[in-house]
């Protein structure tokens, strides 16, 4: 018996060591640095008082809350009706709309930001049309409005997916019961449907909140004078002038505190207000008529189109011929941007993206299977702790994790800064949660008696795991791994901190090109990334054989 225990214990300890070393220890270092005076090596709260003492700093936090709150509300205002309309009415091509909505969610937000600059920026395509028609001098949507626009369009799909999932589980007999008790259609929405999807709406909103709050690429590109908190962190750590690692560390601690708070709030709400619902007979989509049909189609197609607009813009501009170092269009079509990117000589960012991604996904799959199995089937204090620890990187902003890893492994025994390994590790731990969740979900559908049967037939515990559990888990693991993969190749916020010129990835290259105003190259890179995501997503739908995605 003890030898059987040892193998699981061994796995637990090894994985635990990995996460302690690359998650908890670096975060500890950050915490330590935030309260350490580097001169005297003594405890100090000077960095925190510096932050809260000067409006120049703390207004960034206020700004962050403002954009986050607005973007979350707008996302909910778009995502909620979107989900309801898509479930209630027969909409032609709804399957493809669903895929498009997911795609618009999975592409990195900063690509949306730069695409919107192309459309509604100072010299944007739409801006020029507006100015020509109305003879005004509209200066483009930068700052607050721009950030909210990009984040809302980027995040409403999350709300949409959550609410749509809840509506799918809502049995139609609840509607019918309410109807038989005297409710009209409006009362059914307000008294039955809304309260029942509210937990999902809240859960989705809080995820949107955390995501928007910690994103730095978007406000960096489109924010201009409007500085948010993640921008402050980045500039304090990476900026060209007056960087202060200790001050950056204290900012990281603040942001960790805030995201943790929202994470636990989300967990609390999810556990407190969730209803176990499984629909025998889900709501049936009906055919809309008249003005009902007109407004439904207008909303659904309109929103999807606007959400896809950045992708379309990027793909379109990638085929435009550019001059002036890629900043201006000549008005002709060409493959020039692709020649300058894919076929450029000393360019390894595309190669890096796939190699790093595949390495990371390999580790993610192996660890994901083990972790989900250990936490689901071998519950103990250690595996419980492991479960919490692996979820940590899901909620901590990528830039914070990047800073933590870089600060920790810069020098010393384990010196990893500038290597591919540190990027692979950061990608692995950041995107592992998707695979773990999906694997855990499938384990819960496998009866423990299946393993017991294998053992009764002479397997050892590890054999039954390897021969029975792993093959049975594979569909769920694969689905999760594809989600990990898609989010991994579009990762920017930690890579931008960890990369060096030889370990640049696609997202980093796009970001750099945008900063350099080489929109041609950026568009070509983005198109490659988008195509990879779309193909992976189609593969996902093929593998999971359904059109719903859980995130």
């Amino acid at each position: 018996m003890s030898s059987k225990l040892n193998i699981w214990m061994g796995f637990t300890l090894v994985i635990l060591a990995f996460f302690l070393l690359f998650v908890l220890y670096p975060l500890g270092i950050i915490l330590y640095q935030s309260i350490l005076d580097p001169e005297s090596s003594k405890f100090t709260l000077a960095y925190f008082t510096k932050f809260f003492g000067r409006a120049f700093y703390w207004t960034t936090l206020v700004n962050s809350f403002k954009v986050t709150l607005c973007a979350t509300l707008v996302s909910a205002a778009i995502g909620l009706p979107m989900a309801y309309l898509m479930r209630s009415y027969k909409i032609p091509g709804s399957k493809y709309l669903n895929i498009l909505i997911v795609i618009s969610y999975l592409s990195p937000p900063f690509i949306g930001a730069y695409a919107w600059i192309q459309l509604l920026g100072r010299n944007g395509f739409i801006t020029q049309i507006i100015n020509n028609i109305f003879g005004i001098k509209f200066g483009g949507i930068y700052g607050f409005a721009g950030i909210v626009l990009v984040f809302s369009l980027q995040s409403f799909p999350l709300i949409y997916m959550y609410v749509s999932g809840a509506l799918k589980n809502l049995d139609n007999s609840l509607n019918e019961a309410a109807e038989s008790l005297g409710c009209n259609a409006f009362q059914r929405v307000t008294q039955i449907i809304m309260p029942l999807v509210m937990p999902s709406l809240l859960a989705g909103s809080l995820l949107v909140f955390m995501r928007v709050f910690s994103d730095f690429g978007t406000p960096m590109l489109i924010g201009e004078g409007f500085r948010t908190f993640p921008v402050l962190i980045y500039t304090q750590f990476m900026g060209e002038v007056s960087t202060d690692d200790h001050f950056a560390a204290s900012l990281c601690v603040i942001v960790i505190g805030i995201t943790l708070l929202f994470f636990f709030l989300q967990r609390y709400i999810a556990s407190r207000y969730s209803y176990a619902m499984t629909a025998l007979k889900p709501m049936q989509a009906v055919q809309a008529h008249g003005s009902e049909k007109f407004f439904t189609y207008l909303f659904v197609f309109g929103v999807t189109f606007v959400a896809m607009l950045p992708q379309l813009t990027v793909i379109f501009t990638s085929f435009l011929e550019m001059t002036g170092n890629g900043s201006f269009y000549t008005g002709n079509f060409s493959f020039m941007n692709y020649e300058n990117t894919i076929f450029a000589k000393d360019n390894n960012s595309i190669f890096n993206t796939y190699v790093f991604g595949l390495c990371a996904i390999g580790i993610v799959v192996v660890l994901g299977i083990l972790i989900s199995y250990l936490t689901a089937r071998k519950p103990s204090i250690l595996t419980n702790f492991l479960d919490t620890l692996t979820m940590f990187p899901y909620i901590i902003p990528g830039s914070v994790l990047g800073i933590a890893l870089l600060s920790t492994f810069n020098t010393g025994i384990i010196s990893l800064s500038g290597t591919a390994i540190i990027i692979i590790i950061s990608l692995t731990i950041r995107r592992m949660p998707y695979t773990i969740r999906s694997s855990t979900a499938i384990i819960s559908q496998i009866s423990p008696s299946i393993e017991e049967a294998a053992i009764s037939l002479g397997c050892t515990e590890f054999q039954s795991f390897r021969k029975i559990m792993v093959p049975m888990m594979l569909p769920g693991v694969l689905a999760g791994a594809i989600m990990s993969w898609i989010t991994l190749i579009s990762e920017l916020s930690s890579s931008i901190i960890l990369y060096t010129s030889s370990t640049s990835t696609l997202t980093v290259a796009i970001y750099a090109e945008v900063i350099r105003s080489n929109f041609g190259n950026a568009a070509a890179y983005s198109t490659i990334l988008t195509l990879t995501s779309i193909l992976s997503l189609l593969f996902f739908f093929r593998v999971t054989n359904n059109k719903d995605i859980s995130v």
Binding site: L174, A178, S180, L181, G182, Q187, L196
Partner: protein, 364 residues
């Protein structure tokens, strides 16, 4: 308190597919009426036409004399109990029960009183503050029932309300439903595919198949005098045997290839017409001494205390089940050749295609 429901020649179509084509049915005031049939027979479709979840493509349904075809469900004032209970998961027991009263904008004090009363009737008063996920299936079904009847509906509709419960609870709940229905005297339409359940609760039953009503009658009529072989087979167990009719000196009867059974309750029949006879397992007698009867061999027997089941093989190789009250002494040993006689007063005779009963109507 009860109202009559008249279903007059109704038609239900899904696209070009007609599932019910001109069905008529009268349900009496205060009656517990059951629609019974195999799955897909149209019973739930008909129920959902009554409450208004399904549109009516032809004919009309009248409740208390008023045509309800075009009245939206939420204004029909009918209570419905669903197969999966459909208890609102975000409301407590009390809120669930009060829901329909609130949508009717009833004063609070009155709601409180009505809810109290109904919780007593269905005996879930002690659970009034619980959320549905803390209730068992039977308790949830009581909530659903209370919620449906507290609004004082004209009609109570139940769609397989017991099918998600375990066997023991099913019997307990069906007794409770029957008791409550009698207590409040509301016209009730009940849908089930379980014939024993239908026999136990109903005042009258309509047996449906393929969108057509096969027979309407009291449980006894349906069981004892089925109007065709479908009903004979669907309700209880029936052995269907081929036979011919005979008329000899004013006496009519059926002839099983030599074994003649005189009957007093046959309609007027012709000599030598091919018929089928349905004999229930308990309508056979078995004799081991060779006199007249059908030849058979006992293959196996099961002793169940109250009764003993014999499985016999006929000369043509068919197996039949026979149920006899258990007697003192030995069972008939396996492989014993026996003669089977039938109880002439209980058997049913149908035309050869099984569609029309040849038994004379009682009192006719």
């Amino acid at each position: 308190m009860g109202v009559a429901i008249e279903i007059d020649n109704v038609v239900k179509k899904y696209g070009n597919n007609t599932v019910i084509n001109g069905l008529s049915l009268d349900i009496n005031p205060g009656e517990f009426f059951t629609l019974l049939g195999p799955s897909g027979c149209g019973k739930t479709t008909l129920l959902r036409m009554i409450i208004g979840f399904n549109s009516i493509e032809g004919g009309e349904i009248r409740v208390d004399g008023k045509v309800i075809n075009k009245i939206p469900t939420n204004l029909r004032n009918m209570g419905m109990v669903f197969q999966n209970y459909a208890v609102f998961p975000h409301m407590s027991v009390e809120e669930n029960v009060a829901f329909g009263l609130k949508t009717r904008k009833m004063p609070k004090t009155e709601i409180a009183k009505l809810v109290d009363d109904i919780l007593d009737v269905v005996k879930i008063r002690e659970y009034r503050d619980r959320m549905p996920d803390a209730l068992s299936g039977g308790q949830q079904q009581r909530v659903a029932l209370a919620r449906a009847i507290v609004i004082h509906p004209q009609v109570l509709l139940m769609d397989e309300p017991l099918s998600n419960l375990d066997a023991k609870l099913r019997i307990e709940m069906r007794n409770a439903i029957k008791r409550i229905q009698q207590q409040i005297g509301i016209t009730t339409v009940y849908v089930t595919h379980d014939q024993e359940e239908a026999l136990a609760v109903s005042d009258r039953i309509a047996v449906m198949n393929g969108g057509v009503i096969q027979q309407t009658g009291t449980p006894q009529e349906i069981y004892q005098r089925p109007s065709n072989t479908f009903v004979a087979n669907f309700i209880g167990l029936s052995n269907i045997l081929p036979a011919t009719t005979y008329v000899e000196g004013g006496v009519q009867g059926v002839d099983f290839g030599g074994y003649k059974v005189p009957m007093t309750n046959l309609q007027k029949v012709e000599q030598g017409a091919a018929v089928v006879v349905s004999v229930r397992p308990e309508e056979f007698f078995i004799s081991t001494e060779g006199d007249e009867g059908l030849d058979a061999v006992v293959r196996t027997s099961i002793f169940l205390g109250v009764s003993t089941h014999y499985f016999v093989e006929m000369p043509n190789g068919e197996e039949m089940e026979i149920i006899r009250p258990s007697e003192t002494g030995m069972l008939i040993p396996n492989n014993t050749p026996v003669k089977l006689q039938v109880d002439a007063s209980k058997i049913n005779v149908f035309t050869e295609n099984g569609e029309v009963s040849l038994i004379a109507k009682a009192g006719a």
